[in-house]
Symmetry: C2
Subunit: 247 residues, 2 copies
């Protein structure tokens, strides 16, 4: 999942090494360790660039030559498709540790936008293409990532094609909880860096329906919402049953 190699953390640019207690730098280190090692790692270091994006700014656009792939270090990115009349479908949210972009396709077919201040460890497209040829470990990792992403996309097709509004929201919250846990964030309250509109565009609903379903889940005691857009799951089994349609 991780493929981060970069310059020093901008917060510690003046220091020789990043302090151990910086969660931000911890992500980097885990990333580096699980990806590669030795001379291969050194090659990656020479190519990776850290980039920063403001909330709302476009990381890349559809139907343009692929410029980059990379791993999110900090912040959240949404990836989406558009129809001519503006209808939008979010195809994924990307959190720290997630790999973004297609390393083999010459042109992108989706947009990517920063939802929060984003720091991303970027590999320019021509460089990553060259590296894939020369580093089998890297290629194997990317193949595994692509297969996992494909499976998740198919799971989402099931959601969009066959689940009710209530089931969709429950599934969404469980996915966020799962991803937060996977990257080692204290799982209790789940942060929602995206707004209702973006959730709606991920679940194939409208903001009103999303809001109503939140209200229902609160009323039935499955979740609780703190004022800063954080969700607490109070009944995991119940929520899971709803998500799977066995409630």
């Amino acid at each position: 999942m991780k493929l981060v190699v970069g310059n020093a953390c901008p917060r510690h640019e003046t220091e020789a090494a990043a302090p151990q207690d910086c969660a931000h730098c911890a992500v980097r280190e885990i990333a580096v360790c699980t990806a590669l090692s030795g001379p291969e790692l050194e090659r990656l270091r020479g190519i990776a660039v850290t980039k920063l994006y403001e909330p709302g700014s476009l990381v890349f656009a559809a139907e343009e030559p692929t410029s980059m792939v990379g791993t999110v270090v900090q912040g959240t990115i949404k990836c989406f498709k558009l129809l001519a009349d503006g209808r939008q479908q979010v195809v994924g949210f990307f959190f720290p540790g997630d790999f973004v972009g297609s390393p083999t396709q010459e042109t992108s077919h989706a947009f990517a936008e920063a939802l929060t201040p984003v720091e991303i460890c970027v590999f320019p497209f021509p460089a990553i293409q060259r590296l894939i040829r020369e580093m089998p470990n890297l290629e194997r990792r990317l193949l595994k990532l692509a297969n996992e992403d494909l499976d998740l996309a198919q799971e989402w097709m099931l959601l969009l094609g066959r689940k009710t509004a209530q089931e969709r929201l429950a599934t969404f919250l469980l996915l966020l909880a799962h991803k937060a846990k996977a990257r080692g964030v204290a799982g209790a309250p789940i942060d929602l860096p995206m707004n209702r509109s973006e959730i709606a565009d991920y679940l194939g609903l409208t903001i009103e329906t999303v809001s109503r379903q939140f209200t229902k889940l609160k009323a039935s005691g499955h979740i609780r919402i703190a004022h800063n857009n954080e969700v607490v799951i109070r009944n995991l089994e119940g929520l899971t049953a709803i998500a799977e349609g066995t409630a």
Copy 2:
């Protein structure tokens, strides 16, 4: 796209070489040529097995250890996910030349079923895993395939989340036409090897809605349907406009 290497075509088992005019064998040959060559090809030949499935039989099941991956040589396979109560979402139809299965995941998360008599060129899972490690060309091919499949899945998320019934059916027919053309089949009448129920489960609709939308497209002169479940596109631009929501 192609990754077929197998024993002799069953129709010509008694002959030393397959005749040139057999479309069935042509698929094999194209597949072999574009995939690999020389000693690598010989290794693949030693591992590939041709398997046959009856219509309605299960090629593989979800939540079981991955047994195989392979390329369809003849016939059509549908790949789908299920909810506990039986709701079904088709995540893809696979035609001759299409690669089926995830070469890196230990357990499958979808079902695959033959819709017609199917001949498939199968690589047992342990073998393909070993081969991936040893053959970079094979791995590169699989990575490209996975990225293309992912893009198609995301396009389908857009369809399922945001398109109307009419737009969905138009998009579906254009996809079939596109795939038929890509594998060199005379494009004029598109064969529909799947029934209304399977189309409905692919488009996130019901059979009645699919039927009504077929009727509408016929009435508006965009398509024509022959009795043997074949579709003729009579107005390509119009159908494209409908599919993209710009009609």
